[in-house]
Amino acid sequence: MKEKAQKMISCKIAAKLMSLSCERKLTLKEQIALKAHLAVCETCRNCQRQIKALQKILPDYIQAVLRFPPPPELSLPLAAQKRILKNLAAQTD
């Protein structure tokens, strides 16, 4: 960036700034660079919207997944259930 502040940043740098903005507030310089890039780059605008949308969705993921009956390989196996119950019973005695 430095003295060539007007030079457009690449998509790679733009993505870094998008990711960075999830962790901290961008500096004014960073904000300007990202905005200038997004203004002319449609695919990076898509990228930013999608990253934000996924970020919003993620906390619901386990609850959402469990609204549907789990396939057998993702259910607590019967043998494990029995073992857990046995160990719990031993603990209560």
């Binding site: 690449s10 998509c11 790679k12 740098i13 993505a15 870094k16 990711s19 960075l20 999830c22 962790e23 449609e42 695919t43 990076c44 898509n46 990228c47 919207r49 999608q50 990253i51 949308a53 996924l54 970020q55 969705i57 993620l58 906390p59 993921y61 386990i62 959402a64 997944v65 469990l66 549907f68 789990p70 993702l74 259910s75 607590l76 196996p77 494990a80 259930q81 073992r83 857990i84 119950l85 160990n87 719990l88 019973a89 603990q91 209560t92």
Partner: protein, 195 residues
């Protein structure tokens, strides 16, 4: 005494396992990936819950309380194994993965298409969540763990760094890779497939 607290003290361990076993297992499996590790984490959770049953304040639901215990069991597992892994190697791989999304001019090899998950549609779509689950599983296990602590558990970056024994810069690379890869994976496997 609140109603939930009464319920907790009355309900038997059998009921806990029946009501929450599958949920906790799936939660643990998403993080730990190996069935044996997930089973053990669930078992330890129930055992710890049994011991601490009198401390259950009833401010949250049973499931939330149990999930809180499980999360700590999972964090403990990763903390114990953090010493065994070479963090710089992980970070190098994550950083290479980020680079691999772009050509030498910094342009993406697969420019993001125009799509967005519609909240109302996806809430009913079994497929969407399955694809999301598979895409998370494709991330390296520690990268996925860091990402889930950040985005699902809403942990602060300082806490995550302490947990994984990595620097803020290291963590940032992991999170950045996770975001880019998850986005691209969803585009390829959900958006393009359902078109």
């Amino acid at each position: 005494m609140t109603r939930t607290k009464k319920q907790m003290e009355k309900s038997s361990p059998e009921q806990w396992v029946a009501q929450h076993g599958h949920y906790l297992y799936r939660f643990a499996l998403a993080r730990l990936r190996q069935p044996e590790l997930a089973e053990n984490a669930v078992q330890e959770t129930f055992l710890a819950a049994l011991k601490a049953r009198h401390r259950f304040a009833g401010r949250s639901s049973q499931r939330t309380w149990l999930t809180g215990i499980l999360k700590h069991k999972i964090y403990d597992h990763f903390r114990q194994h953090a010493r065994e892994i070479d963090v710089s190697d992980l970070v190098d791989k994550d950083s290479q993965a980020v680079d691999s999304f772009y050509d030498y001019t910094g342009r993406p090899h697969h420019p993001p298409a125009d799509w967005l998950p519609n909240p109302r549609e996806i809430s009913k779509s079994k497929e969407f969540w399955e694809v999301l689950e598979r895409c998370l599983q494709k991330l390296p296990v520690h990268t996925a763990h860091a990402f889930m602590m950040r985005e699902i558990d809403k942990m602060s970056t300082q806490q995550i760094c302490k947990n994984l024994d990595v620097t803020a810069t290291n963590l940032w690379v992991m999170l950045h890779r996770a975001r880019l890869q998850l986005r691209e994976c969803m585009e390829k496997n959900w958006f393009e497939e359902s078109r």
